[in-house]
């Protein structure tokens, strides 16, 4: 379990980026941290693996205080995939890139090879194994960065804006991958302002604004509430905006996902149509 207790963080410039954050994340959790540009999302993510230490309060990773253990030690448990893949990539081939962390952790060459192959396969990167990461497109480089962290199977996976530059099919693949990870008991935390991705993935949502948590709950309850969504500079998902207009017909307001919307409307429109069918 990762626990943040009253965590505040002030950059050396004096800017208060996080203010009194209380949060806990455990295996099997799937959490989306959302908020405006500059809300403190990435600063929060860097606290989860000890890259930043709180100015006040503390962060415990499986009971260990991040101020007292090294980032390298925490890296085996907490994998952080940065927003910009170029901050993470440096090897000559995709294969080497993904193997780097595993080698550093001291795994045998056989384990490294097997694990690299598996991860590349799962992320649809097998065909690029021998290419330079820098010859790939932005979206592909992002997946290589993800693979390099995933290969060592951290218990806690932190993804900073994983959907940027990904097309719809790749987002579907990412969604399935995340689903698989947390159903295996891993914790997945994603930082994102992709409201439609969140609406269809249904994680727990934590809304951050100006360094403070301003809302918490299921995706459908949080993302369908105007005051919360506005405060975090987000826009409601399309389904929520649509259902906000349809409450007078007895439909619920808290619908964010297109599949639930379809079921509700099928029932509703079925009712409307039925009498017509009986009395042509």
């Amino acid at each position: 379990m990762i626990t943040l207790e009253h965590v505040s963080f002030r950059y050396s410039s004096g800017y208060l980026a996080l203010h009194e954050i209380d949060l806990s994340i455990q295996g099997g959790d799937f959490v989306a941290i959302m908020g405006e540009n500059g809300a403190g999302k990435t600063t929060l993510a860097k606290h989860l693996n000890g890259l930043l230490k709180p100015s006040q309060g503390r962060v415990l990773v499986d009971g260990e205080d991040t101020r007292k253990v090294s980032v390298a030690h925490l890296a085996r448990k907490v994998g952080l995939v940065f927003q910009n893949p170029d901050h993470l990539l440096f090897s000559e081939t995709v294969k080497d890139e993904v193997a780097f962390g595993l080698k550093n952790f001291g795994f045998s060459p056989e384990v490294v090879e097997k694990q690299v192959g598996r991860t590349l396969e799962a992320l649809g990167l097998a065909e690029y194994a021998d290419k330079s990461p820098f010859l790939l497109s932005g979206g592909e480089r992002k997946r290589v960065a993800l693979a390099s962290i995933l290969a060592s199977e951290p218990d806690y996976l932190i993804l900073d804006e994983p959907t940027i530059g990904q097309d719809y099919q790749q987002k579907e693949r990412l969604r399935n991958f995340i689903l698989q990870l947390y159903s295996q008991g891993k914790a997945v935390v994603m930082i994102t302002h992709d409201v439609e991705f969140v609406a269809e993935s249904n994680p727990k949502v934590i809304l951050l604004s100006k360094g403070q948590i301003v809302g918490k709950g299921s995706a459908d309850s949080v993302l369908s509430r105007d005051e919360m969504v506005n405060r975090a500079s987000l826009v409601k998902p399309q389904m929520s905006r649509l259902f906000g207009e349809l409450t007078k017909y007895g439909l619920p307001r808290d619908v964010v996902d297109v599949h639930r919307a379809r079921i509700l409307l099928e029932d509703k429109l079925g009712e409307v149509k039925a009498p017509v069918a009986q009395n042509p």
């Binding site: 540009n37 097309d167 790749q170 987002k171 439609e196 399309q238 017909y249 297109v258 429109l269 079925g270």
Partner: protein
């Protein structure tokens, strides 16, 4: 509206990067007029970024490979013009504004392009002031680019290309790093440039819902070819299954409508906006 001038004309355009097995773009025929707002989309690797690189001459001037066909931009043949000439006419805003901004202040960053063109001080001042005014960045002029939010940075990048007085602005996934409110703000700024200055805007974007309000026309690419080109609402309505099959991020209301239409519960055109869907559904439910 008077008939607008053609600003981009591609005839059977193709490009194969040196060493690549397949051409990145092939057989592209495209004609874009002044003051159009175009959404260019398609799955990763479909050739949309390569096509944009042709528009400002990065291809074939900076990328090795085999060029076929013709491309005229603002009356200039891309293959014979120096990129310096083309980059004055086609401004390019990249996905990550951090990669584009480098000067110590916003004002200097915006002035960089016109300074390099050797204009007089007065001309530079005027271009910078106008660009800042239109993009709403005047208040930021003394700040360093790194002090700005993502949306502000993207508007400064837009001002920088605007100060070159281009005829076309290409925005390549300009909102990826931005929160939805800020993304909306950048799209609106681009649309203002089209309406007020008659610029041609080409936006590359995976998320159609962000652009659907501004773009009348959509161009869809797959495997280096154009597979759909037309009015956005019409393409969504008539070729919905194809778009979905390609993995294009169709607006969620359009997807919902198409599913209900398949179920036989609704009929009529696929809506592109929430408002259209809401009024159509309201109409059906209030007997």
């Amino acid at each position: 509206m008077s008939r607008a001038r053609e600003i981009i004309v591609a005839k059977n355009l193709g490009f194969n990067y040196a060493g690549a097995k397949k051409p990145a773009i092939q057989g592209v025929n495209l004609s874009i007029s002044e003051d159009e707002f175009i959404l260019l989309t398609g799955p990763s690797g479909c050739g949309k970024t390569s096509l944009c690189r042709c528009l400002n001459g990065l291809i074939p001037n900076f990328y090795q490979g085999e060029w076929t066909g013709e491309l005229m931009v603002d009356g200039l043949d891309v293959t014979t013009q120096p990129t310096s000439e083309l980059s004055r006419r086609v401004g390019y805003v990249f996905q990550n504004p951090e990669n584009q901004l480098f000067a110590l202040t916003v004002e200097k960053d915006i002035a960089f392009g016109p300074e390099n063109l050797g204009f007089s001080r007065d001309e530079i001042r005027e271009r910078v002031d106008v660009a800042m005014k239109i993009t709403g960045t005047s208040a930021l002029k003394e700040l360093a680019p790194y002090e700005l939010s993502g949306g502000q940075q993207q508007r400064v990048a837009l001002a920088g290309v605007l100060a070159m007085k281009p005829s076309v602005i290409v925005l390549d996934e300009p909102t990826s790093f931005l929160d939805p409110h800020t993304a909306e703000e950048v799209m609106r700024a681009a649309d203002d440039l089209r309406r007020e200055l008659g610029l041609t805007i080409v936006v590359v974007e995976h998320r159609l819902d962000l652009v659907a309000r501004y773009a009348e026309r959509i161009v869809v690419m797959d495997g280096g070819k154009i597979v759909a080109d037309g009015n956005l609402g019409q393409v969504l309505d008539e070729q919905f299954d194809m778009l979905e099959g390609l993995g294009v991020g169709v607006p969620r209301v359009s997807l919902l409508w198409s599913m209900l239409r398949r179920d036989g519960l609704v009929s009529g055109k696929v809506p592109t906006h929430v408002e259209d869907a809401a009024s159509a559904l309201s109409g059906m439910m209030s007997d």
